[in-house]
Amino acid sequence: MDTATRADAPDTLVETVGAAIVTRGLTKRFRSGQVAVDALDLTVPRGSVFGFLGPNGSGKTTTIRMLLGLVTPTSGEQSVLGLPPVQALPKVGAVVEGPAFYPYLSGADNLMRFDAADPTASRATARRRIADALDRVGLAAAAGKRYRTYSLGMRQRLAIAAALLRPRELLVLDEPTNGLDPQGTREVRALVKEIAADGTTVFVSSHLLAEVEQMCTHAAIMRAGKLVAQGTIASLSAGLAVRIRVETPDAAAAVRVLERLGMDDVRTGDAHVTAELGGHAPERVNAALVGEGVAVRGLAVVRPSLEDVFVGLTGEGFDVDG
């Protein structure tokens, strides 16, 4: 039923069955009347590290809960690894809305509990798989300690270990770096890269634009329950201009040079000037500036960030309703 095709839809789920996650018109209206997710058409290619971006409250977690079969969609279709969500679950590892474990059990016993819940997991190999998963997230030394005594970073890593108990085809990570210190954040990023290198599709939600830019090959941007854009990171920012930034004490002189070169949207800042690069070669711009006697202290080509993409698409800052 979830994967049923619609005669009137040109790109049905059948055509995109190779994708790790496909949703068409996916909508969730809660009983309160609030529409958390509104007609979402998401396509997550296999093998991608897919950033699911949006301010807090934009519908990311509700979408993830629908993809994991925890929340029933009001309407629309969805398929995970070509299957209805519930059937795909043994092949999916997930961290949803932060870690949740039994405080009076040790880290290893907690993992044993969740492994026991998976009807397709082998009991015979459980101990070894648990030890490996704990080792992988750097918790081997704390395996016997009660969860109660774990720090926030350790709890987050235990949740990731639980998602890695089995070889997975898809890993869903909801805000995996929430509450982590910079060191923990780096570790999680490294782990995600490593997992993705194994061929696992990683679907990671975040409200941190910079994080997604650093980790992901693809991204989708949500706002107020609606999908604003999706695609490769490069394609998302393709519509926005690359700019050149010149650091100089002679801002006025630099502006004259750049305008004479025919560059658009020249803006003056405090001891710097920026302009759309257009088809110009940066080294020629530099030569022109120096040739005119402008003191160039620094010169950089600035690619548009996802934040610029978001602002460009919605006309508002990213953290508006965070």
Partner: protein, 313 residues
């Protein structure tokens, strides 16, 4: 990924269901899958989850303390009766029965505990079962594991049934031991005046435990159903206890005699059917049918609610 099973070794029971062609097969995990996954597999997995559930229940200090307190009651009752009986005054009816035979303390303890303390104990475990996991957030991880909703509910109910019988057995054993230590053993005089052998008396205790345990299991079904409606386990626990108390009040109102047979506590106290001669089989049968009806009704409510519930905790 280093966690994959070694599909090459013949004796390895690799029971993963992943198809050999699965894209992310980072290693050989589950390559032997299809071949080995037999009929016994889901059953074994079910027992594994049930074992995990029982381990959680019977290792949790709170649940053990409850069992300990229940075990203490027959001891206190026994010592008190021994003291009173020793003075030779105020002996009447059941007190005299207990003082006369060690086995009677078991039945007396049940009559003290079956209407409130044992229901409270069972409500704590069964009422906490779904709501507690929801409140702690572990429910979403169990379901994503994926435990399966119907499967998890069945495991939670069976776990509560086992705890119900544990509660009943603990009371019976404690009372039996206390009775044997404090009062004379030997033939048992029943309520109807007939006397049966000690062996038959013990047998009747076993029947009694079976019956009372079933009653507690019926109560567990109610607590489980309530547990699917909330993320606050104390709500489901208190709700069940309130239902028990309201039933007692209804039983006490003569005008409502018509509903009395349909109330669980009425059936709880019918365990004294084993003290008739011969055993009042009809009363036990009716009680068990009532318990079965409660389990069916509230089990269905729990399933209807839980299978379609949005897990937002």
């Amino acid at each position: 990924m280093s966690t994959a099973e070694n599909g090459g070794s013949a004796g390895t029971f690799t029971l993963d269901r992943r198809s050999p062609g699965s894209a992310a097969g980072t290693a050989d995990g589950g390559r032997t899958a299809g071949a080995v996954a037999g009929v016994g597999r889901p059953v074994a997995a079910f027992w594994r989850l049930l074992a995990s559930e029982l381990g959680l229940t019977f290792r949790r200090p709170r649940n053990l303390v409850i069992l300990g307190v229940l075990a203490l009651v027959p001891v206190i009752v026994g010592i008190t009766l021994r003291a009173v009986g020793g003075s030779g005054e105020g002996m009447d009816g059941i007190v005299q029965d207990v003082a006369g035979n060690s086995l009677m303390l078991t039945f007396l303890s049940f009559s003290f505990l079956v209407l409130l303390m044992m229901p409270v104990a069972v409500s704590v475990v069964a009422g906490d079962s779904i709501a507690g996991e929801a409140g702690a957030g572990t429910l979403r991880y169990l379901l994503a594991a994926p435990a399966g909703r119907t499967r998890l509910l069945a495991v939670k109910f069976l776990n509560a049934v086992v705890y119900s019988y544990a509660v009943t057995a603990v009371v019976a054993l404690s009372a039996l031991l206390t009775g044997l230590l404090l009062f004379p053993a030997g033939p048992v005089t029943l309520l109807s005046g007939t006397t049966v052998t000690m062996t038959e008396g013990l047998l009747r205790i076993v029947v009694c435990v079976g019956y009372v345990g079933a009653g507690m299991a019926a109560l567990a079904a109610i607590a489980l159903a309530l547990s699917t409606f909330t993320e606050v386990s104390i709500g489901a626990i208190a709700g069940t206890i309130v239902l028990v108390i309201v039933s007692q009040v209804l039983r006490a109102i003569p005008d409502l005699n018509a509903v009395t047979p349909y109330l669980l506590p009425t059936r709880f106290t019918d365990f004294d059917a084993v003290l008739r001669s011969p055993i009042d089989v009809a009363a036990l049968r009716d009680g068990l049918l009532a318990f079965g009806a409660y389990i069916l009704l509230f089990g269905s409510i729990a399933w209807a609610r839980f299978s379609g519930k949005d897990i937002t905790s």
